[in-house]
Amino acid sequence: MSAAVEAIPRRSVKPNPALWFRQIRAIFWLEIRKNFLGRRAILIYLLALLPLLPLSLVAIVTPPGNEWKNFQQYSVIYAFFYTGLIMQTVVFFGCAWIFMNLFRGELVDRSLHYYFLSSVRREVLVVGKYISGLATSIVLFTATTVISMLLLYLPHFYSQSIRFFTEGPGLSQLLTYASITILACVGYGAFFMVVGLFVRNPIIPALLLYGWEWLNFLLPPLLKKISVVHYLKSLMPIPLPEGPFAVVAEPTPAWLAIPGLILVTIIVLVISGYRIRRMEIRYGSD
């Protein structure tokens, strides 16, 4: 140990996209098996099934009220149902659970170091984990979106509904709602993953964001734009009234809302990559 030494040379590691792709694939499958095929995933499956419960009841017993007897009203009913229960509750909390646990869950389980001790760039780890969370949330919540819509329409006005989906605007609306769900997973997912990386107790920022998103209709137009829900609502196929107290703002056009959300997501992922690059494993203090 007393040997003389040369100065430490600084090396740069050459980018190797083929290797990164293989590693992302390995991380993806490991995460899917660990987080989404185990017993702990039951809660998230139950959450995804939640909207189907009231719709199943409604399918058996039609509620009183004229709007339930008028097929034209079903688009509005579903728009309300989708916004309130699916997008702003199920997708929101589902993404919170899935994406916060990607890193925070591993810190709690004290197993993150196994990734940190693998010969993988930490940014690649962020991408692999994010994609696994995204795949899970998209599969679950897009299925919820599609099944919910079909479950609302088909039991009540079967033949009209079939025509609505095959010849009318039904299919287009269905695809739009599915796309909004996907975008919600992309946006909320990135936010919750970065929160899970920075904050020790991510429940508090999640609840703060939940409040901010729900109160979005009261915010002045400029502040409305600092939210995910504003861009998602701008894409809704059936625009909904926001109530007498709402501050009216022009919806952001789709050509701006979609790339905008994706851009913000990329920025958040870059922040995650920077954060994880400097992250230490100190389970005791986590």
Partner: protein, 316 residues
């Protein structure tokens, strides 16, 4: 002269947890072979290992492992395997899945990952239990599967935090033999342990650490020789210990000469062991006494540890 790409190199490294000291001003150059980190609980052994593997970032200074800075995991962990003390695993995996999953994350293809997994499992004698859930493993098996994970990708540097904990004596002996085999192949093996006699037995060199500071480092006998404030104790078994005592007592480097309880041996404490051995050679050559055996009493790790650190937190 060893180049940095053959050494684990700490250059003036300090680590603070807020205001709490982890390690301070560490300068080390660790060559191939078995190097043991020894010190009481909380001395900074795990901090040093976590710094070496990039799990912690130094507050000051820099670290490189065989020329690779520790903030480049993609290159570092091609060379390094680390068996931590964290007794936790990803949820729901079997031993085999645990190994192959992270070999795939390393970038190996499926076929090579399976081969490496089988080899590592065989090294730690876990082939039969490989398809059982890790959660159902005993403590010793969990320790072994962690060791397998550290060696699976065939690293050239193995860092092992208390790797013998929880192992039964038979497996301990096999594991030590495995470490020796790796060291003979030119690997760097860094081990932390509380069991001093095992460290003494297997290490090429030791690093003694206490309260975040490196107290001593090097070959254990070399470290002992440099401790002038603690005269070396030597036990000489001979036919006439009283006469030997009278012959050596007037030497200026002999601090103490004391008869053994059975009166068949003499304890000597000397500040200069080399001069004492020369004197003893002369006495024996003159035929004045017959010497049966000569044994340094405190020339081992336990004694060095006692002198430098004290007895807290270790077992000998």
């Amino acid at each position: 002269m060893l180049a940095t790409d053959q050494l684990i190199f700490f250059d003036d490294v300090s680590k603070f947890y807020g205001e709490i000291l982890g390690v301070n001003r560490v300068n080390l150059q660790i060559a191939p072979g078995i190097t043991s980190l020894v010190g009481p609980n909380g001395a900074g052994k795990s901090t040093l290992m976590n710094l070496m593997t990039g799990l912690l970032r130094p507050t000051r200074g820099s670290i490189s492992v065989l020329g690779t800075p520790t903030d480049q995991p993609e290159e570092l962990f091609g060379k390094v395997g680390y068996c931590t003390q964290f007794d936790s695993f990803p949820r729901g995996v079997t031993g085999r899945e645990f190994l192959t999953s992270f070999l795939l994350v390393d970038g190996f293809d499926r076929k090579r990952a399976d081969e490496l997994c089988d080899t590592a499992l065989a090294h730690v004698n876990l082939t039969e239990a490989a398809d059982r859930k890790v959660a159902a493993y005993s403590k010793g098996m969990r320790q072994r599967i962690r060791l397998a994970q550290a060696i699976a990708h065939e690293p050239t540097v193995l860092i092992l935090d208390e790797p013998l904990n929880g192992l039964d004596p038979m497996v301990r002996a096999e594991t030590i033999a495995l470490f020796r085999k790796f060291a003979a192949q030119g690997l760097h093996i860094i081990i932390s342990s509380h069991i001093l006699h095992e460290v003494d037995m297997m290490s090429d060199r030791v690093i003694l650490i206490n309260n975040g500071y490196i107290v001593a480092e090097g070959n254990i006998h070399g470290v002992r020789d440099e401790m002038e404030e603690h005269p070396m104790q030597i036990l000489i078994r001979c036919d006439n210990p009283s006469k030997l005592a009278s012959l050596v007592f007037d030497q200026d480097h002999v601090v103490e000469a004391r008869l053994h309880e059975d009166r068949k041996g003499l304890f000597i404490r000397t500040r200069d062991a080399d001069r004492f051995y020369l004197l003893l050679n002369r006495v024996v050559a003159d035929g004045e006494i017959n010497v049966e055996s000569i044994a340094p009493v405190d020339d081992d790790l336990s004694a060095v540890y006692q002198y430098l650190i004290g007895s807290a937190g270790v077992s000998s």
